[in-house]
Amino acid sequence: MSDNTTLKVSDYLREPLILLNTNFNSTDELFNGVNDIAFAEGFVTDQFLPKIKAREATFPTGLQLEDRGVAIPHTDADTINKEFVAVVVNQQPISFKRMDDPDSTTPVKVAFVLGLNQPHAQLEMLQSLMGIIQDSSILDKLEAATDQKDIQQILN
């Protein structure tokens, strides 16, 4: 495990799973949109969509930051065939329930959908993702990105 090379968030980006200027109105719409591509491209099993929806309902993943929300939806490792971090930048904020308080919501324009199946090998990537989430200037850039290459550069 320790001899794994350090992987960055950008190493987990897959071009079809960078979704910009989307118009999702709810978390379910967002999951449907990500799953349509992820399933067609073989990244996930047919259990991914029902499981990620159920998981988000029970253990939501909205993180309330100082000036906005970010979400990191994910679900069981056995639904992931090929690992990925999908980036969704929606035009309007979507209400995500908060991880620390499911009775409250947070407005999310940028969501990172994590398709992970070996979490312990990915500590560095997850830590750098948390660093990104905590940096509002990076989130500003992600929200303003116009094409997939921008996202790859910002997260590199």
Partner: protein
Amino acid sequence: MNKKINVLVACGAGIATSTVVMKKVEDLFKENNIEANLIQIKIAEAASKQDDADMLISTTVLPTQYKIPAIKAMGFLTGLGVDKVKAEILDTVKQIQSA
């Protein structure tokens, strides 16, 4: 010599956020010379594993009451209130070790 404590680190799936929090807690304990076993779990497993543990650190809402002290550690993910979370964890460790 303080006793070695057993700490459950939980998140919803036991896969992403608990991995990050494990590392943060490991570092915190190392800095403070606290000896601990950290066990990464899904929050759903906490009730059945609490008998063998001294405290629970979680990134999710706590679905039930536990017999052991339970701390919400969202601050490690968002960066908001990190110092408070760390202080709460260290205080709880002290209480466990002095009990």
